[in-house]
Amino acid sequence: MSDFDFGVAGWFNAWYKKFFREKWPLWLAALFMAISGIMAYGIATWSLARTVSGDNPYDQAKPLGTFLGLKELGGLIDNLLGKIGLPHYPFSGYIWPNGTVNFFRQLPNPMLEPTVGTMLGILFGGLIAALLAKEFALKVPLDKSEYGLAVSGGVLMGFGTIFMFGCPLASTTNTGAMGVQALLMVAGMTIGSYFGAKIIVWLEKRRMSMSLAFADGAGYRPLMHFEKTRTIWPRLPETADGGEPGSIRYQPYLAIGLVLVMIAVLFRFGNMGYPALALSFAAATLTGFAMQRGGICFAHAYREPFLSGFADMSRAIAFLYILLILGFLPMKLLAAASPDLAYAEIFAVSPAGIGIVLGGALFGIGMALNGACVSDSLWRTAEGQVKIWIGLLTLICVSSWLFPMRNEPWFKHYFAPYGSHNIRNVYLPHILHSYPLAVVLMIGVIVLWALMMTWFSGRTFKKYMEG
């Protein structure tokens, strides 16, 4: 090999290892997520402008979130399995510039709901990242308790997402959007994660005491003797020379192939009159990629300060929240100055009430038990964690089944009364009559939250060390 070859190959290998094999620092992953979140908000604003000007009314994009996508995927599962009782409403929530929340445009195909594209994009981005890092493997836990945790977590998250009208990923968009709902979501998920962490500690202590009952006299003490994992694919070791099996070695090439196919499909989609949907899918792909590379996990951010005493993920999420507040601001001001785009000013602002805190708490417990929220589940599904698939499927079915409850008058009256008639009543810049004041307040609350999580983590870790 010549010096030149060695230099180029060496540089490429080092760069590839740094960017695609090693885990990114959390701040870098949060920065990439913020860029993709801001892109999604910009694409949604642009799609609104196109709709107003008479272009394809079905080519709508939305800021990052998964709530309506869960409902649509539930409907698709219902279609695939036959009628299993899941409601299927092929609607796309849409609010006309007068600020009411009752205008829904019917879609000819549920796949045109932008948040379905967001969910698939996160999954796809996570898959690409996992393949490039050679980290994809189908892992099946044989411990039944893992499935129990996944299903119970999925059910709680299904209820939680209906009550809080969103998921943790939506909480990032909602925080950037400066709605009151965002602050209530953060409060609710923090409370729920606290209790979720307590439940996990209790379960682990119980498991530990059970394991001692299985101790034998040969020094082998199986903690849960029936608990093993099975990696379906790839199988290791496979090669006679001890090298990497092909199923691992070729994963990066598969990733490159999938990216090329994605680019071709998105161009085709754009040419068919759906450029906004294609672009929002691309933005979501970047989100999934960044989440997998950095290991960004909302469940971890909310739970670990109370469980293991680590708050580095909480601070990364706070950094993400703040970047989105600042990143959405220019587009909001632009939209506020244009009557046709008025709705873009209040994208992702939803009615608020005690239901948001309650839903956040249920979701917090659920994601602590499941080990992942919706967006976490998507990129970890792409890593091949079968337990996470079970939790995600349960969450999709439960939230889809409960979705009609959101439209019941009693639900709005008791759980989300504020902003039901005029969404601007729960929009902080409108309440405070000032954008700068709203930005300072939102950032101040997020900084306080990060400090509180850091304090809790210190307390938890001190207890562990002194134990």
Binding site: G219, K228, P234
Partner: protein
């Protein structure tokens, strides 16, 4: 998941082993912390996991708690850590 005290004839430098393959975050981290808590200073623990969350969490634990991370390797998606308390 299984844990065992070192069997005769095994690697003498490893005091205990913890196999948490198949478990998903947070359980690998919780079990590792719990295991280390019950060990004496100077003893070594080998942890085997296949949830990618441990790539961040276990080195962070060692750094913060003052445990010595003797080695860390990735064997086709199986992450193996050797930690000295």
């Amino acid at each position: 998941m299984s844990v065992n005290a070192e069997k005769p004839g095994g690697d003498a430098s490893i005091t205990k082993r913890l196999d948490v393959k198949g478990l998903v975050c947070p359980r690998p981290m919780v079990m590792t912390m719990s295991m280390l808590k019950g060990m004496c200073a100077g003893e070594t623990l080998e942890v085997r996991a296949n949830d990618s969350s441990v790539k961040h969490s276990i080195p962070s634990l060692c750094e913060r708690a003052g445990y010595k991370l003797l080695s860390q390797r990735d064997e086709g998606g199986e992450f193996i850590f050797l930690i000295q308390k």
